[in-house]
């Protein structure tokens, strides 16, 4: 540990840290454009210049390491003047079309201008004319005029993905980032380029011009599209009621999580958010009119609990079939295990997961569901749906998710008396079951997931679930209480945290070390 002074404020910091990081830790932000935590410093933007006592020139905060007793000034007159100068240069060649730039609102250059610039333009020459719409990848458009040549994109492809599709061409004022010989950036991590670009040079075709950054609300969640469990930021618009525009997720960004995904997410997770927007089931469907059930949660739950009680009373609990999936959170799987395995001793438990696909060696895993590991640790035997076994001697089937193959089930379901489906989406399955209950997705409820490496990560609701949807854990805890088999056990479960504590008491894998 060394002691340094930033703006005359003493800061204790580990040796070898850069001034920039030290300042960040002390709560002082030093503007920087080319520096990114994931890469070694490049020092080309010259925004992070700071004054260090005893040195004649201004030094780069991003590359200068701390020394004992170093005195750093981040806001001295000299520094501010230098930053103004650099900003002036950057803006001289940067188009001032923020109103139509997609980055406006979370553009670093804009922020720094707001903080340090606010000068009148002295630039009376013509800006260099460059290509405005270069398609550099399947989802990426590069605006060479807006590019400030921080080369984050080049370094990302060189140092993280190692595919090196991008390079800097020409020199001096004519320098521009481009692809080599018509080989566009088509790797599975191309979307990260748009996210790390500090200005609006690389934009995402998927998000481009759809909305403005400041209309969006954001929240942190976990990507459920593979078992890696990357941290993501979901950005969505709450909806424009008067114009009939519903709530819509607009984009997904990678969130920083050193232990799992670093700073990146794959394109599958980034662009595969349409499941949150489209085809959502938002009301309870009762297909059996003769039951005269009002589509209200309380009534349906009481009805289900009644069914379970009756089966238990008759000793026919083995005639219950359960189809689960790995999109369920640890808490929900635990409750399901408790109710159906421990309490009711159901034997027919199947898993219907999305089929495995090829993974890559970086983040994407072959399993395309978020909680496979969790289900295994919970004590479930992961078997695919066996329609023959399912059809025989079954009175009640409770299925979760919309990953079931419709064709396989059609024949099997015919003989079963009561069929209940919990699903988040409208699909052909909905007509096969007697009762269809809407459920929220990972981004719309709280809970925890176990990723492929056995890391348990908690998440909380970002979006409001559509319509009547009720989180499965809540419904299951209620069902456990209503069924009346082990009432006192289920009574204390009123939040995912409480359930998680309950899991920890029973399964050592989920125990939190205190």
């Amino acid at each position: 540990m060394v002691k340094i002074f930033i703006n005359e404020m003493p800061v204790e910091i580990e040796e070898g840290t850069t001034v920039l990081k030290a300042a960040e830790k002390a709560g002082i932000s030093i503007p920087h454009l080319c520096y990114h935590d994931a890469f070694p410093p490049e020092g080309s933007c010259r925004m992070c210049l700071v004054e260090i006592e005893g040195l004649p020139k201004l030094e780069l905060a991003c590359s200068t390491r701390v020394r004992e007793g170093m005195k750093v000034f981040t806001k001295s007159e000299k520094v501010v003047e230098a930053r103004k100068g650099v900003l002036e240069f950057l803006l001289a060649e940067h188009p001032l079309d923020c109103p139509i730039c997609d980055k406006a609102g979370d553009c670093k250059l804009q922020d720094y201008y707001d903080e340090y610039g606010l000068f009148e333009s002295q630039f009376s020459e013509h800006k260099e004319k460059r290509a405005k719409k270069v398609k550099i990848g399947k989802n990426l458009i590069h605006d060479q005029e807006r590019c400030i040549l921080c080369r984050r994109c080049v370094r990302f492809l060189r140092e993280v993905i190692k595919t090196q599709e991008l390079g800097v061409f020409e020199r001096g004022i004519h320098s521009s980032v481009n692809i080599y010989d018509l080989t566009p950036v088509n790797n599975n991590y191309s979307g990260n380029l748009a996210q790390i670009c500090p200005v609006g040079a690389i934009t995402d075709l998927d998000f481009r011009f759809k909305t403005r950054a400041w209309f969006l609300e954001k929240g942190e969640s976990i990507c459920p599209l593979c078992s890696r469990g990357c941290s993501i930021i979901i950005e969505y618009h709450p909806g424009h009621y008067r114009f009939g525009v519903p709530r819509k997720v607009y984009r997904i960004h990678a969130s920083k999580n050193q232990e799992v995904n670093g700073f990146w997410i794959c394109d599958l997770g980034r662009y595969g958010y349409s499941y949150l927007n489209e085809n959502r089931l938002d009301r309870i469907i009762v297909n059996r009119e003769e039951w005269r059930l009002e589509p209200v949660w309380d009534i349906i739950l009481k009805f289900l609990a009644q069914k379970l009680k009756r089966l238990e009373y008759r000793g026919k609990t083995s005639r219950i079939a359960l189809i689960l999936n790995s999109w369920l959170s640890n808490e929900e799987l635990f409750l399901l295990h408790k109710i159906f395995k421990t309490d009711l001793n159901a034997e027919k438990v199947f898993f219907a997961d999305p089929p495995q696909e090829e993974g890559d060696n970086f983040l994407l895993t072959p399993e395309r569901s978020p909680n496979n590991r969790g289900a295994r640790e919970m004590g479930f035997d992961i078997k695919p749906v066996h329609s023959k076994a399912l059809a025989e001697e079954t009175d009640l089937i409770v299925a979760f998710g919309s990953f079931l193959a419709e064709a396989d089930l059609k024949g099997a379901l015919g003989k079963i008396e009561t069929k209940v489906l919990f699903t988040s989406h409208v699909s052909g399955l909905n007509s096969l079951f007697d009762i269809v209950l809407p459920t929220p997705l990972i981004a719309e409820k709280g809970g925890s997931l176990t990723n492929v490496d056995g890391r348990v990560q908690k998440f909380s609701a970002v979006l409001d679930p559509p319509g009547d949807s009720l989180p499965e854990w809540r419904m299951l805890a209620e069902l456990g209480r209503e069924a009346g088999i082990n009432v006192s056990f289920y009574r204390e479960f009123t939040s995912p945290e409480e359930i998680f504590e309950g899991i920890g008491k029973e399964i050592s894998f989920f125990r939190v070390e205190k």
Binding site: K57, V86, A92, F123, E125, R171, G172, I173
Partner: protein, 411 residues
């Protein structure tokens, strides 16, 4: 006292051939050096106060001393990328006396423990490069290069690498990048090339003239060498005089010679009918001196005191018939063209200033433009990644300050 030590035999025919060179007592320094211990050589060089001839004037011995003793290959890069406008000394050295350079390379490599040396030569010097390659081949033949040099057990290979014509590759780290086969962009310092250089290995980078001085130091001793120049600044210097003088060319003179003497005594004075207006004393990147400032000693420290620099000691003489605006235009055009585009102030600043100067030359300028140029140039100065930014800003600043009246008159 005009004693040539480096350029002593430049007039001789076929001196670049190894036979002729050996006849004049060549490669004796190598023989002497190989019998010395590397540390002794280092001591000797340090004592000789040999300062780098590339422009920055960093003592060569000290630079070698920075090379860490690690178990990694080490490299020597000889910077022959002579891109500075007005400078042509290295070309003369290589084309007239390539073996002196090779001798210096061998001694340096032996001293630091290097087994491969690179000569990064400017792309435009085609004939010079060919001559150098010929010389290397001859040296190989005679056993001065290759495996087991002069049976001392010391191996050395020398490779000539030709640049592709970028000024920035004269900057040491950009030169390394270029040698590695990458785009010639300067690296962030620290780490300095002495510890992390070519292929991430410790690397010594020296100018052709510096290396060429090594054999003289070894052969004649440090004290003799210091005696040829100033106490802090050993040896002679090759001044390349160009511009409106009667006899432009290279002049080997001791450091500390007056600039006035160089122009009027050695270079034969101004051309007929021309009057001195300004001098750029150290290559284009050096701040300009006005006619009344030429009575100045040409050495590193005095010139820095006077607000200029010795640089590559290329004296460019400007007469009253030349408009300073045109000089400025040439300077800005050159730097705007040669900026590598990596860091912001240099990439945009040089081109911006160039645009303003171009407009001024078209007669569309205003007084505000000169203020603007001054402001922009000082925004570049000291804020760039490599010295190119400073090199661009300094002459612009000096011209705009010292000849402001003239510039304003041209508006």
């Amino acid at each position: 006292m005009r004693e040539k030590i480096l350029t002593r035999y430049f007039g001789l025919e076929n001196f670049f051939k190894i036979d002729e060179y050996l006849k004049q007592g060549g490669y004796q320094a190598v023989q002497k050096a190989l019998q010395m211990k590397p540390d002794e050589i280092l001591e000797e060089v340090k004592k000789a106060n040999l300062r780098g001839r590339g422009g920055a004037g960093f003592p060569a011995g000290v630079k070698w001393g920075f090379v860490p003793k690690v178990d990694k290959p080490k490299y020597l890069c000889v910077n022959a990328d002579e891109g500075e406008p007005g400078t042509f000394k290295d070309r003369y050295i290589i084309s007239h006396n390539p073996h002196l350079l090779l001798e210096g390379i061998i001694i340096t490599s032996y001293c630091v423990g290097i087994h491969s040396a690179y000569i990064y030569i400017r792309g435009e010097y085609e004939a010079v490069a060919l001559r150098l390659e010929g010389a290397i081949a001859e040296a190989h033949e005679k056993g001065f290069l290759g495996k087991n040099i002069l049976k001392s057990g010391f191996d050395l290979d020398v490779v000539v690498h030709r640049g592709a014509g970028a000024y920035i590759c004269g900057e040491e780290t950009a030169l390394l990048e270029s040698l590695e086969g990458k785009r010639g962009n300067p690296r962030l310092k620290p780490p300095f090339p002495a510890s992390v250089g070519l292929f991430n290995c410790p690397t010594v980078i020296n100018n052709v003239e510096t290396v060429s001085n090594i054999p003289l130091v070894i052969l004649n001793g440090a004290d003799w060498f210091v005696g040829k120049g100033l106490p802090k600044d050993g040896g002679t210097r090759i001044f390349g005089v160009s511009g409106m003088v009667e006899k432009p060319g290279i002049y080997e003179l001791p450091l500390g010679t007056s600039l006035k003497d160089i122009i009027f005594k050695h270079a034969g004075g101004m051309k007929k009918g021309k009057k001195l207006k300004a001098v750029i004393p150290g290559g284009m990147s050096a701040p300009v001196l006005k006619a009344d400032e030429v009575d100045i000693k040409m050495d590193f420290d005095t010139l820095v005191e006077a607000g200029s620099m010795l640089g590559s000691a290329a004296v460019i003489v400007i007469d009253t018939g030349t408009s300073m605006l045109d000089v400025l235009k040439t300077v800005t055009k050159f730097y705007a063209h040669e900026s590598c585009g990596q860091c912001t102030p240099c990439r945009i600043g040089t081109s911006w200033i160039n645009k303003i100067v171009k407009r001024m030359a078209e007669g569309k300028g205003s007084k505000k433009d000169i203020d603007n140029i001054l402001r922009l140039a000082s925004n570049i100065l000291g804020k760039t990644l490599c010295p190119l930014g400073d090199a661009a800003a300094m002459p612009i600043l000096s011209i705009a300050k010292k000849f402001r009246k003239e510039l304003e008159a041209r508006l």
